[in-house]
C-alpha cells in the first residue's frame, strides 16, 4: 500500500497541523494562558497521521491523555480545540473537559482520556457496535507503552481477539510511562509481542517514519474491515517535550543527548526530505504549507481568546441526558 503523491502531501499536512497546533498550545501554556495540564504530542505526529489517513466517516478513535494529536489528525477544528484549551464556552466540550478530555463525537473521536488504560475497553465497545451494526467501520485505539501495563488493556485485547472485532490497537511506544523508562516498567521490549497472547498479529513499525506507519496501519485496518479481527501495531516513537508541558530537554529521567538524537529523526523533517527527493514538494512548497497552517492557528487562537467563558449556570448542566 505505497502512498500516492496526494496521500504523501496529505500525511505531511496532517503532521504539520498537529505540530503547529501543539507548539502554539505549548507556548500559551508556558505563558500561563492555558489552565491545567497540557500533555504534548510533538514528536509522535507520524503515528496519528499515518493511522488517521485511513479513517473516514463512521470510524472511531479512542485516545489518551495526549489527545490533541489524535483529534487534529482526524480533522479537528482548531478554533473549537483552542477554545476548549482556554476553557471557553465555544470549546469542543463547552469548557468542561479541557485538554485532557477533548473530543469530537461527530468525527468519531471518543475523547482524550485522563485515565491511563481508559480507552481500550471503550474501543472494544465501539468495535463491537460496528460489527453489530454491520457498518464496515473500524476503531483505532491509541495507547501508550505505559498503558499497556494496565489490566484494562489486557482485558480489552482478549475480548477484541475473541470476538474478532474490527479494531486496531495502536501502541505509541515513546519509551516512557510518565517518567519511567520502558525497561523499568516492563520486562519485554516489543509490546507487539503481547498480541500473541490474545490470538492476533502484532507488528512493530518505526513510528518516526510516517510512510511506514501509513503502510502498516493500512494493512491492519483493511484486515479489520474484512472481518479478520484486530491487529496490535506498535509504533516506536518519542515525545520531544516533557511528560506535561514544554520544559523539554533532559530532566532527571532522560538526557539532552537522547532528546537531541531523537529530534534528528523528526518525523516531519524525514517526510519533507523524502518529498523533496521524490520531487513532490520542495522547501518553498513546504514553507508555504507551514504558513497556511500558521495562519489557521493564529486565527483560531484569536477566536478562542475572544470567546466568552461559560456561564456558571452551565456548571450542573449535562450531568444527565435530560
Amino acid at each position: 500500500m505505497t502512498p500516492s503523491p496526494e496521500t504523501l502531501l496529505d500525511l505531511h499536512r496532517r503532521m504539520l497541523r498537529i505540530r503547529l497546533f501543539e507548539e502554539e498550545a505549548g507556548r500559551l501554556s508556558e505563558a500561563g494562558r492555558i489552565p491545567g495540564a497540557l500533555h504534548l504530542y510533538v514528536g509522535e505526529e507520524a503515528v496519528a497521521a499515518g493511522v488517521a489517513a485511513h479513517l473516514g466517516q463512521g470510524d472511531q478513535v479512542t485516545s489518551t491523555h495526549r489527545g490533541h494529536g489524535h483529534l487534529v489528525a482526524v480533522g479537528g477544528d482548531f478554533r473549537r480545540m483552542f477554545a476548549e484549551l482556554f476553557g471557553r464556552a465555544t470549546g469542543y466540550c463547552r469548557g468542561k473537559g479541557g485538554s485532557m478530555h477533548i473530543a469530537d463525537m461527530d468525527l468519531g473521536m471518543l475523547g482524550a482520556n485522563g485515565i491511563v488504560g481508559g480507552g481500550p475497553p471503550i474501543a472494544v465497545g465501539a468495535a463491537f457496535s460496528n460489527k453489530y451494526r454491520k457498518t464496515q467501520n473500524v476503531t483505532a485505539c491509541f495507547f501508550g507503552d505505559g498503558a499497556s501495563n494496565e489490566g484494562s488493556f489486557h482485558e480489552a485485547a482478549n475480548m477484541a481477539g475473541l470476538y474478532r472485532l474490527p479494531l486496531i490497537f495502536v501502541c505509541e511506544n515513546n519509551g516512557f510511562g510518565e517518567f519511567t523508562r520502558q525497561d523499568r516498567h516492563q520486562a519485554i521490549r516489543d509490546i507487539a509481542d503481547r498480541a500473541a497472547g490474545y490470538g492476533f498479529p502484532g507488528v512493530v513499525v518505526d513510528g518516526m517514519d510516517v510512510i511506514a506507519v501509513y503502510e502498516a496501519a493500512g494493512e491492519a485496518i483493511a484486515r479489520a474491515r474484512r472481518g479478520e479481527g484486530p491487529t496490535l501495531l506498535e509504533c516506536k516513537t518519542y515525545r520531544f517535550y516533557d511528560h506535561v508541558g514544554v520544559r523539554g530537554m533532559g530532566v532527571v529521567y532522560r538526557s539532552d543527548d537522547e532528546v537531541r538524537a531523537w529530534r534528528e529523526r523528526d518525523p516531519i523533517t524525514l517526510l519533507e526530505r523524502r518529498l523533496a527527493e521524490l520531487g513532490i514538494l520542495d522547501a518553498p512548497g513546504a514553507a508555504a504549507v507551514r504558513d497556511q497552517v500558521h495562519a489557521e492557528v493564529r486565527e483560531a487562537v484569536a477566536f478562542a481568546e475572544a470567546s466568552p467563558f461559560p456561564d456558571p449556570a452551565t456548571l450542573t448542566e449535562d450531568v444527565y441526558a435530560s
Binding site: 468542561k96 485532557m100 510511562g177 510518565e178 517518567f179 450542573t316
Partner: protein, 333 residues
Amino acid sequence: MTTATAQRQLPVVMAINEAIRQLMQEDPNVFLAGEDVALYGSVFGFSRGLLDEFGPERVVDTPISEAALVGLGVGAAATGLRPIIDIMFMDFMGVAMDQLVNQAAKMRYMFGGKARLPLTIHTMAGAGLNLAAQHSQSLEAWFCHVPGLKVVMASGPYEAKGLLIAAVHDDSPVIVVNNKALLGLAGHVPEEMYEIPLGQAAVVRPGTNFTIIATGRMVQESLAAAEKLLEHGIDAEVIDPRSLVPLDTATLVESVRKTHRALVVHEAVRFAGFGAEIAAQLQEAAFDYLDAPIGRVGAPFSPVPFSPALEAHYVPNADRIAGEVLRLLGRSG
C-alpha cells in the same frame, strides 16, 4: 510549645516526606511503592530523596497498574510487611477498586480474624487546579461506606505527618488522603515522630456560638470563614475530624451541645457525601440541643468542570461557608 518563631515550619509535601523517611528508618518492614515515586520522587514531589536513602528495594517504582499495585500491598501486608502504596490521584482508585473494597477491606473479617493487614494507601484528592473531572475528585465517602477500611484526611502539614505515621503503625488498611491544593501550605511540624491517633478530632478554633465541622482543605476555608463571621459577631468553633473512620463523634457532639448549631463542610459532592453521616449522627446524639437544622456545604452534584470560570463555582470557599452559617442563623450576608 515554644514561641511561634522558634517553631519549625514545613510545607505539607515535606511533612509527608519526613513521615515516610522516619517510618522507614524505624521499621525495615516499611516500604513505599507507586508510580514514579522512586527515581522521579513522585509527581507531587513528596518522595524526593527517599530512593537515595533507602534503595530500590524499599522505594519502588511500579508499572502503571493500579489493581496490581494495591494487590501488591495487600499480599505484602498479609505476609508481614508494612506497605505504603501510593495511588497518585484519588481518581485512580477506580482502577483498583476490587483490591481495595473486596480484598483489602474484607480479608481479616472473612478469615475469622486470622489476617493482619497493616496496609497504608496514600493518595491525593481535591479540585482547584483545573485538572478536570478525572483528576480532581474527593471520593472519601466511597471508602467510608466499606467496613474494614479506615479513612483519614489531612488538613495541613501537622496532620499530614501525624496521620500518615498513625496509619502505617495501624494493623488495618488505612486510606490516607492528602489534598493536592494544600501541598505547599506550610505550618508547624515537630521534628520527632508523632501520631495523630485515628479517631481523635481536633478543635482547631474554639468558639462559642456556632460549630463548623470541616474536612481536608475545607478546614482552611472554614477558618477563614470564622474570621469573616467575627465581623457579624459570631464566634464559630471549627472542628477537624481528621479521621472519618473511625469517627470521633463525641468531640463533635460536645461542641454542638455547647453551640447549638452546626454546619458540616467538605469538598466532595454534597449529595450522599460524608457530611450526611455527620449530620445524622449529631441529630441522633444531640437533637435536644439543636436550635436549627444542621447545614451542609459541599460541591454541586456534577463532575468537576475544567474551565476556571466554572471550577471557581464548584469548590466551596470561605464566602460560601460564612454565607451558609448566616443563613442558618436567619441572617442575611
